[in-house]
């Protein structure tokens, strides 16, 4: 595209949303999801729609392609390239989808049909939308598209099935499919949320280069302020179905106007913001792991080594952050401590006792001193039990209390996680994600453990909720002085919370030491790569980092 047409395109609006309201009719009631949303997207522009869960950002993007379920009631106007999407019948929508506007989704594996090859799913679109192309032209175009999204060996990958790809490759294929017919608008709904940071970095790079080369306008739906800073020219901030603020990206980060935007930005954990006082050296060691190796039995007798010779120790009142990408073995370490992973070598010592030497009964007693908090808070609570019963369960098993003492203890625990004591009769489905996670924490702390294992406890939560849960953990540890193993993929969270950091890669500990030292001056290149892959929530700083990756 030449300079001149580029500037002409800049002025034309490819997507316009006017007074969009969406409600869902559920059992005769209309539940409002989006109200009076307005925004425009110019040709070649990158617009981010940012918001927390329930803000209506995804509903807005689905409405743009007419993808809402039949019980949705839509008012207002959405125009893509001159076509009124809401008023258009099936034929009108067919002329928009795939050709004028295309969409990619959060979970790339779910979004691809598992039983057809990548090549088929690419070419079927061309066969439908570009009838004039011959079979040969189509497969040529498919190879070209895979090259465009920087997939190695495109000819080979065309014959692959989705399950044979990695998460990053599958998302690239999705992008290739979306771009097959040169749409003017690409809507990306949380396209990197399900991916590791380094993979997220690669996908964002691909999208950056595509914008430069093809001039496709992109709407990026995200909850991540770092991604916004990295990618967007302009930002729409949404909350509870309304637009809180629309501003150019730099202005939004430097001088946010809406109260909510300010709160949202304040809640984003940043690397380098953490501060913790040093612990005295003479604290008792609670957990000691020496040369731990975990091996899962694979097919044909081949063992898969998930943790390889890892050692660390955690003292009373100390928090160690175990950091790594998916498959790095960080959860296996957490599981091996409570005997849920096949330990094939090394020693785990809890409060001075080697767990491999313990009888089943002693082990059970020891487990009462270990609390566990999982990632998915709603999945970790039994839906048929009240939260009071859930918290009381470990107390019933390990302590003998009268029922009055029991309910007194449950009330105290609920209050300690900042929930009202009278909520003990509620059921998990009545709670939000953050509230459920507080209940999980209360349950984990019910027996006053000396060790708390927290496996990605805030990964499923919105940033503002995450901030309050992290505050809670910090406060509780200060009061109760337990040792904590904090497993996370998020370096910024670890930085704000932990004393020590251990970085895992493919089961091997690549770097281990004081938090401040590792996160400010990483020695290992992998730690460096992890750190530089995290997009920084500041457009100017992020641009400098993008231009010069070594600038940190």
């Amino acid at each position: 595209m030449t300079e001149k047409t580029m500037s002409e395109n800049q002025s034309t609006t490819v997507l316009s949303v006017r007074d969009l309201s969406v409600g869902f009719r559920v059992g005769g009631q209309l539940i409002e999801a989006v109200r009076c949303v307005n925004f425009d997207l110019a040709a070649g522009e990158a617009l981010a729609i940012v918001g927390e869960s329930g803000s209506g950002k995804s509903v807005t993007s689905l409405a743009a392609l007419g993808l809402l379920p039949p019980n949705a009631e839509i008012a207002g106007e959405i125009r893509i390239g001159g076509v009124d999407v809401i008023g258009a019948g099936p034929a009108g929508l067919a002329s928009v989808r795939g050709t004028l506007a295309a969409m990619i989704f959060q979970d790339p594996f779910g979004a691809l049909d598992p039983v057809f090859t990548v090549g088929y799913q690419l070419t079927e679109m061309l066969r439908h939308h570009r009838r004039e192309m011959s079979k040969q032209e189509r497969s040529q175009r498919a190879v070209e598209l895979l090259k465009l999204v920087e997939i190695p060996e495109p000819e080979v990958k065309l014959a692959s099935y989705p399950h044979q790809l990695s998460g990053g490759q599958a998302q690239r294929v999705m992008i290739a499919i979306a771009l097959a017919c040169d749409p003017a608008v690409l809507i990306a709904d949380e396209p990197t949320t399900a991916l590791d940071v380094t993979v997220q970095r690669d996908i964002l790079d691909v999208l950056h280069r595509l914008r430069e080369r093809l001039g496709t306008a992109i709407v990026m739906i995200t909850h991540d302020m770092g991604v916004v800073a990295d990618f967007a020219d302009r930002v729409v901030v949404m909350r509870d179905g309304r637009v809180e603020e629309t501003a150019p990206s730099r202005q939004l980060f430097s001088a946010p106007r809406a109260e909510y935007t300010r709160a949202l930005l304040a809640a984003v954990p940043r690397i380098g913001a953490g501060q913790r006082e040093h612990l005295p050296e003479d604290e008792r060691t609670v957990l000691e792991i020496e040369n731990l190796t975990v091996e899962y039995r694979g097919r044909r007798g081949r063992n898969i080594r998930s943790v390889d010779d890892v050692s660390f120790r955690i003292r009373e009142g100390e928090m160690l952050g175990l950091v790594g990408e998916s498959g790095s073995g960080k959860s296996s370490i957490g599981k091996s401590i409570i005997g849920l992973a096949p330990v094939s070598g090394g020693r785990i010592t809890i409060s001075g006792r080697d767990i491999s030497a313990l009888s089943r009964r002693e082990m059970r007693k020891l487990k009462s001193h270990i609390g566990f908090v999982f990632q998915n808070p709603s999945g970790a609570l039994d839906p048929r039990r009240t939260i009071g019963q859930a918290i009381a369960a470990p107390l019933r098993v390990h302590d003998s209390l009268t029922s009055a003492q029991l309910s007194d203890r449950v009330s105290k625990l609920l209050e300690s996680v900042e929930l009202p004591a009278h909520w003990s009769a509620r059921y998990p489905h009545e709670l939000s994600g953050g509230q459920s996670q507080r209940v999980s924490i209360a349950r984990a702390l019910a027996l006053d453990p000396s060790l708390l294992i927290a496996d990605e406890p805030t990964s499923a939560l919105d940033v503002s909720v995450q901030a309050t849960v992290l505050d809670l953990l910090r406060r509780l540890q200060h009061e109760l002085h337990f040792a904590c193993l904090f497993i996370s993929h998020d370096l910024a969270v670890v930085d704000s919370l932990c004393d020590q950091v251990l970085v895992l890669k493919e089961g091997v500990s690549v770097e281990h030491g004081e938090r401040s030292q590792i996160l400010s001056s990483p020695q290992h290149p992998y730690t460096h790569r992890l750190l530089s892959a995290v997009p920084y929530p500041d457009p100017d700083k992020q641009r400098r980092r993008r231009e010069d990756p070594l600038a940190g």
Binding site: A94, R97, G110, D113, P114, V115, E124
Partner: protein, 308 residues
């Protein structure tokens, strides 16, 4: 793949030996003496009985009899009936009838069952869905013999569309009515399974992707949804073919079709051990072969379960 196949074949052999031995044991331990039954009401002379017992190796221990039988199987000898005919020639005369009947019923199950399931699953909770559900519940709750006799009365006698019994009219007229009757149960199951499968598939993310890609409904439903939904149904269908082949005893009786079911029934009635074991063995082989074919079909349809 070779490893997988050889493991499957080994499993198959073990199951084959185990099950045939059980049948053999049961049939020849049935109360009543087949030799005595040969004589009808008159007792046979002792020397004749002894000679017959010797001829059919009935004095040997049961495991030796079984080994001899298995040995015969591998040379194509399925044994000899007590009246001197070879079991294999008897079965050969009967198989075509049963196979025709079972395949006709199977075809009806596939086409109508999958079709109804697909229609119901595309609009779950709609009028069509509810009608199909009610109809299938009613159909499955009527016993086969009631359905068979009712069908004979209505379509055979009153309307005169199909022959009431016998195979003299040939395929398809003579087979259609009994085939529909035995297909009803499987057909209902197939349509319920297919419906559930289609509902799940329609909810999946990739269908949303296909809509967003701008693909026409015909290709989304006819290609992607159909192929993703049909795998669990195929497993059932293949197993059901085994049942259709082995479960024709009642229907062949009602419609007087000279198939394998009638042969089996007569064999049991007259203590014809070799015939019963022969038919039983044949049916087992069919089940085993089908179970392997199901696996192969499944892996062809869904690349995720291809074995390496």
């Amino acid at each position: 793949m070779i490893r997988y196949a050889s493991r499957r074949i080994l499993e198959l052999a073990i199951v084959f030996v185990g099950v045939t031995f059980l049948i053999y044991l049961m049939v020849f331990s049935l109360p009543g003496d087949p030799i005595a039954a040969l004589g009808g009401n008159r007792p046979l002379p002792d020397n004749v009985v002894a000679q017959l017992r010797d001829q059919y190796n009935l004095n040997d221990p049961i495991w030796l009899q079984y080994l001899r039988y298995i040995g015969g199987l591998f040379t194509g000898d399925l044994g000899t009936t007590f009246d001197g005919a070879s079991v294999s020639s008897r079965m050969a005369a009967r198989w075509p009838v049963t196979i025709t009947l079972a395949l006709t019923a199977w075809g009806i199950e596939i086409i109508i069952g999958i079709g109804l399931g697909l229609i119901a699953g595309l609009r779950p909770g709609g009028a069509v869905d509810r009608t199909i559900l009610t109809a299938t519940i009613i159909a499955t709750s009527i016993p086969v013999f009631v359905l068979g006799v009712a069908a004979q009365l209505l379509f055979g006698l009153q309307l005169g569309w199909f022959p009431v019994a016998g195979v003299s009219d040939g395929w398809p007229t003579a087979y259609l009515l009994p085939a529909v009757v035995i297909a009803v149960f499987g057909l209902a199951a197939v349509s319920r399974l297919m419906r559930g499968s289609v509902v799940d598939t329609m909810r999946s993310d990739f269908v949303r992707t296909l809509v967003a890609k701008g693909m026409p409904n015909s290709s989304i439903v006819g290609l992607h949804v159909l192929r993703n939904s049909v795998a669990p149904v195929l497993t059932f269908l293949a197993i059901d073919l085994g049942f259709l082949l082995g479960g024709t005893v009642v229907i062949e009786g009602i419609f007087n079709l000279p198939g394998i079911g009638q042969l089996l029934f007569d064999g049991i009635r007259t203590h014809e051990g070799p015939t019963v074991v022969g038919v039983g063995t044949a049916l087992i082989v069919i089940f085993l072969v089908i179970s392997v074919v199901v696996d192969l079909i499944n892996s062809a349809l869904d690349p995720r379960i291809r074995h390496d």
